[in-house]
Symmetry: C2
Subunit: 392 residues, 2 copies
């Protein structure tokens, strides 16, 4: 129970997992059905159609049992051409992980990892990708992060796709905190492969990873022989999908929950959701600005906002207070090669089952705790600034 008894409810505003709507929780509590039944097949088929609408693609969307990392690793290793170069971009913790994965597979896949490193808090530009492709015309893949959760930063995926579309390299985008929160038009923009996970904007518990494949990615899977991996081979998943099926035991409860969550998203409309997420992010940035706090990103993603703590604020104590006193589950930072932010930043989510009321609760608690910690802020500053944006 929160110690500040004005706050009675638990609010998960971490950038994944996010809260799950009651309708989805209830759907997942339905009695288990076997995955080799017509009933399950109908649910799976409908969910897959809805995923296509979500990614804005007519191509296949694969549903893998696992995390976002499961899905992204599968895409990276299934789509790289043996003997080629792979271009990897790191501007945060997750980009660094994708670089590590190709390093790990380099001997078996026989790929050369060309690394672009961008300072944390900045986004890679289309020009940087164009330069890298010009220097490495034999690259078969560009793997990057659309919305880098660790730095609360988004790149211009559309502009980058215009560059990769003219090259021989497939663009594999980690949009794990992008799809369903930020505008993503996979087919219209020509992104070859987009990956996301269930526990972010898709309003489900963790457990499903999704890989959407454009035509060039499907062609690549036919062209290239599978390497020394099995369950992560997208060819198996694509083959099963042709029969509205998955190659291994399907997580039936998660899938039926996901179908309901996607129905909610469709009913609301993607553009409407994008607008809400952007507005909640703008209100949060305005409130942080009014309190004199500095954003961690120069190219903020709207799905998550991060700020540096003012001098003298202890991360563990501060977020512990938000959790124990206000029931607010927030995120701190991470250490990586590009920066050490483990104890220096605070992050809050705007995607998934989070709304203006939750955002105001978060800002109220942050302001109160900063004042309690001795920051010179007048009570109401953050909420007034946020209210102006919400009402605009």
């Amino acid at each position: 129970m929160p110690a500040n008894r004005l706050f009675y409810k638990t609010r998960v505003v971490t950038p994944g997992p996010t809260d799950v709507p009651p309708a989805v929780l209830l759907e997942m509590a339905q009695p288990i059905i076997h995955h080799r039944t017509k009933q399950f097949q109908a649910i799976f088929t409908q969910m897959t159609q809805r995923l296509g609408n979500l990614f804005r693609t007519k191509g296949p969307v694969l549903t893998l049992a696992g995390s976002g990392t499961t899905a992204f690793e599968a895409a990276m290793i299934s789509l790289a051409k043996p003997g080629s170069k792979v271009i990897t971009v790191a501007s945060g913790k997750f980009g660094e992980r994708w670089q590590d994965i190709y390093d790990q597979y380099a001997p078996s896949l026989n790929v050369t990892n060309v690394k672009i490193n961008v300072p944390w808090g900045q986004a890679v530009t289309a020009q940087q990708i164009a330069d890298a492709l010009a220097a490495n015309p034999d690259a078969s893949v560009v793997a990057l992060v659309h919305s880098e959760t660790s730095t609360a930063t988004a790149c211009d995926l559309k502009a980058i796709a215009q560059v990769t579309a003219k090259s021989n390299a497939l663009l594999i985008a980690d949009s794990i905190t992008g799809v369903g929160a930020l505008p993503v038009e996979m087919d219209a923009w020509g992104v070859d492969c987009v990956v996301t996970g269930s526990q972010k904007a898709l309003m489900l518990p963790p457990g499903l990873g999704f890989v959407a494949l454009g035509q060039r990615a499907q062609d690549r899977l036919k062209e290239v022989k599978a390497g020394a991996y099995y369950n992560l081979d997208l060819r198996r998943w694509l083959k099963a999908l042709a029969d509205n099926d998955v190659p291994f035991t399907a997580p039936v409860s998660l899938i039926r929950g996901q179908s309901v969550a996607l129905e909610m998203i469709e009913k609301e409309g993607l553009e409407t959701i994008w607008t809400r997420v952007a507005k909640l992010a703008a209100a949060t940035r305005a409130a942080f600005g009014a309190m004199g706090l500095k954003l961690i990103s120069q190219n903020p993603s709207d799905s998550v906002t991060g700020i540096f703590y003012p001098a003298g604020i202890d991360d563990s104590k501060f977020r512990g207070a938000l959790r124990d006193k206000y029931g607010l589950h927030t995120a701190g930072g991470q250490d990586g090669r590009g920066a050490k932010w483990k104890v220096s930043i605070l992050r809050v989510s705007h995607m998934g089952y989070v709304d203006a009321g939750d955002t105001l609760a978060f800002l109220s608690a942050v302001e109160t705790e900063l004042i309690a910690a001795g920051q010179k802020i007048e009570s109401g500053t953050a909420l007034a600034a946020a209210a102006k944006v919400l009402a605009s």
Copy 2:
């Protein structure tokens, strides 16, 4: 789905029913057990003990299947002495209902109804009760409302009980929006009978009414013969309770849900809850005041706040907008003999499963809609005023 897509969740902030915590919903979804089993008896016994803690009484607390009105009617008709006077106080819609009930039963109970009418928005005083008892020393009952939901007004129940304790009249208090939200010390204050319902501060759906009996009320039940009524005869309920039972089929799911909700209340502590409710009410009053709105009550109850609409605001449209655009279920007013407030007021609850985050969501929506309706209010005024109180 709310039309203002910054607000995604449904929030029931009406003064009953209020939202129900997920843990209570899950408990009520447990498989049905028969009510004549040791398992149910154990649950019922524990709930009854917890009710005693809630009312702050060592006396019996009866659990009736029905609404708050069921419970209050049962108390009124079971405790009145045939041939005596009954003093009824109306300062709002519910007080008027209790007056009507004794009028209805007057022939069969053979009671004379002495009515005290207080202007809506004001509270009856201990002096008024003392004067009425002095003028009617043969009164057997004083029936009044502790927290009058229709006018968002509370009286000084403690001071009134000091008066009635010295008389021959039993004090029957409708504390349906009091118990669990406002301080009530039944035994210490000497209130003879306190009634509440499940769907307010007790965080359950509607369906249970509770009657707590002090020693004088128990004595009265022995002293007076039952009248021409059956299921509402408290003697039957009191007799069954001696065997940890109820006289008619018990609503088992509601009772097990209520036991869990009461456990939550105990874990938090009543004083802590009283403080939260008072703070949320104070923040709401400050926000309304900052927007230039007038409270409907001169003695505001902390469990519910009401304001008069400014000129030009249409109740149905305004609350329809709160509901359809923000997912906020609020209450308007009611027409009665003392006032016609059906379309002129707005009410919001601070009791039950409602916290500071919900209150901020409500105030943000009200401010936005008032501005949209042409009121001269600067965005952020309400939230800044509320934040100052919440942080104080």
